[in-house]
Assembly symmetry: C4
Homo-oligomer: 260 residues x 4
């Protein structure tokens, strides 16, 4: 009976053991709890909220801790269903496997976290597990398609990135020469001018630094206008790569439906 229950839990908790499409109810529940716990920890960093709802956060954290501990215990137990994690040496191998380590550290930091620490980055890492879980069904197909399309055009993207770096450095160097006398604080060195260059070429434009001399504004205008080109390049490459991928996708679906 115990063995039967372990098998059923294994099918629930092991992503690949689940034979039906999508995720098992147990993994959907765990994923939801991970997301909620991450959102909770994000909100908790805001002192004005934490101070008012401190008891609420204390209780929910305890609940998260209980759920994650039970989950870890179950995963540890059902790991025996896989030959590679069988026996004591197998369980040790299970404990030191990367996803289990992340789980364990998430629990331990959780324990410390209740005391008021900020070491919760590992809980965010558990989100990566959801990404792994997401490698199923149509979302997985979409992800794979996008990654393949981007990888196929990696050299084009490398060329664009290289060109962008070159233009960023040259622009920052010119602005350093042009503006440093007028604004030693903002343009007194090339690294400082690079901060301006990045804000300009990405069109973020915080407005904390901008040229004030006439020649500086002239060069900044040229830089801002060429920024459109530099942003259009990767966008165009992505668009073309995806267009290519979608066409192959469609052709494959058509061929399949034609029984080829």
């Amino acid at each position: 009976m115990f063995s039967n229950m372990r098998q059923r839990l294994f099918r629930q908790f092991d992503v690949e053991a689940w034979t039906q499409p999508g995720l098992s109810p147990a993994n959907i529940f765990i994923s939801a709890v991970v997301v909620i716990s991450v959102v909770s920890v994000i909100i908790e960093t805001e002192n004005s909220i934490r101070n008012i709802f401190s008891e609420f956060f204390y209780v929910t954290n305890l609940i998260f801790l209980a759920i994650f501990t039970v989950e870890y215990a179950i995963r540890f137990w059902v790991a025996g269903e896989r030959p590679e994690f069988l026996g004591i040496s197998g369980r040790v191998r299970f404990i030191i496997s990367v996803p289990s380590l992340i789980d364990l550290i998430a629990i331990v930091t959780f324990l410390i976290g209740i005391g008021g620490s900020d070491v919760f980055l590992f809980r965010i890492l558990r989100l990566l597990r959801i990404l792994k879980l997401a490698r199923l069904g149509p979302v997985s197909r979409a992800l794979k398609g996008l990654v393949t399309a981007i990888m196929e055009r990696r050299y084009e993207l490398v060329v664009t990135a290289g060109l962008a770096m070159f233009v960023l450095v040259i622009s920052a160097t010119i602005m350093y020469f042009v503006e440093r006398a007028a604004q030693p604080e903002a343009f007194g060195s090339i690294p400082r001018a690079l901060w301006w260059a990045i804000a300009t070429f990405t069109t973020v434009g915080y407005g904390d630094v901008y040229p004030i001399t006439v020649i500086g504004k002239l060069f900044a205008s040229i830089a801002a206008l060429s920024a459109i080109g530099l942003i259009a390049m990767p966008t165009g490459i992505f668009a073309a790569a995806f267009s290519d991928a979608f066409q192959k996708d469609r052709k494959q679906i058509e061929d399949e439906s034609n029984g080829v």
Copy 2:
């Protein structure tokens, strides 16, 4: 004679009963009045204008009210031309149907609105009706094409949105650790840092928050540069999806003209 008039009004006011292409003159007029009344209400919220033209707004509002009331009465009357709205129970069903309720609430809030209230959101909702009216002719074909193209690539867009969320949270978390000591007001919690992250990754860059430490600027530079990629992703997916849809569109038109 009354029955004949009801039939003619029905053909004028019911979108689907109009057999000619485009909208009926009555519906074009009503749509125009809705748009003008929304523009009017938007301008009216500006006190400096409202105070000067208060009488003008009072009169125009009365005119809008009269038009919308008459329109509602006509729609109520001609509803009987449709079997589902026949008889008393049919008319009740007409009154509690969603578009009629929006019309009714628009009129009622209008009545209250003349007294100086701000409850005019329902008038804006009537704009949705125009969208419904717009589901005709070439604009409809275009809308359907765009929606189909986007829906076909919904999983790719979900992947991009998920990736964007992940990057936003991670970036905000890093900036929270890096900048909170220097700027507790702007980066004192992850939700606060998220405000910076959104302004940066969307390249809006209001400039109310930006890193001031060297490490903060370094991370913000990486964030701003990767923002280009995150914006290029959905743009590329849209471009590829539309390209796909337009090609099918063209092929269909060619096939039709070839008599296939």
Copy 3:
């Protein structure tokens, strides 16, 4: 001999009479002078420069005036080569034709302009003539291709523009309700909130207005994120439309080279 000279000048000054590819030397020269005179007038509006080089500008303006007057006289004379401008009534028709009127007004405002006026908009309108001149050769083919591609997808662009307007108005309305108490100056009416909405949805983000309340920042975040979608829509439509047009272009060239 006079008639022969008029014919030669006609071929030089009339765009369509020039049989060789590109522009005639006379029209290249005139176009260059128009561009230079526009740049000159732009720079002249800057008082700090005008005050120093006032004599220089006086002389160059006289030269521009002389060139444009001579050009007008020649165009008036050679217009007789075209049957529709023959005789006195033809010349009157020439004077009141739109391009000639623009030329005439440009000269007259020039005369007034030397006295210190700002009425130089007509000189900028002459730039439109260059656009007309540009309707030749490969640039013309490119322009026609782009316009055709955009026109073919005008309904898709109308849908996107309509959606953008709707989202802008709704966003401004929400922010008006959320932020008006905290910032009556910036969000005290929907038209004021629209100024914020446009700066946000176009990702310009001047930073003169931005939400300061928590709920306002939450809505602004959603607005900023959906801005990416609204910008990606027309970009995607343009990309797909151009892709379509370029493919037809290529196919046509291939067919021509195959002698079809």
Copy 4:
């Protein structure tokens, strides 16, 4: 034995003499040193770092100088392997060839630079050499593909650039008339208004200048909204051009694999 060594060094240092795929170990090393030396010189401009690590920079600069001098000497020596650089007149031709001159000036400015000068632009120019080195393998293929795709659509890009210039000048002119009374400092001349126009149409939006009058904000809103179209145009052209190029690319690969 000397001749044998010269031949081997020639194969190591001359990009085209290297028969294996990729770069020779010697050129990889030199490229890395050039990049590191440029990064070093960029960081060195920051006084706060330079003052602390002045001795470190002194030593690393000496090392860079030694490496570049030895490299120059080797390149000078092995140049004799090429017929065109043979003999004394050949070596003179080698010295006055552009890449050698850049190398020489880089070394000389380096020598001066140790004394505290800013004349290091020539070291950045040496990065161009890396670009030349990069003209190999799949990165080269990608670069050539992108350049070909852009060149094929140069007329479309010229049309877009011309349109953008026209819209920029017209917008700046309108804002100059509308805002100059309210903000003489920011909009007192068309060149000043152009600074606003560029910040707006590129969506950089520093926030140092923005309209404050109602009519100014109205025009700026129209300008900001049309900015989306102006940015979407080149992005769409790039996307379509790359899409075209990638399809040809794929077809060629398919044809090759089919033995055509």
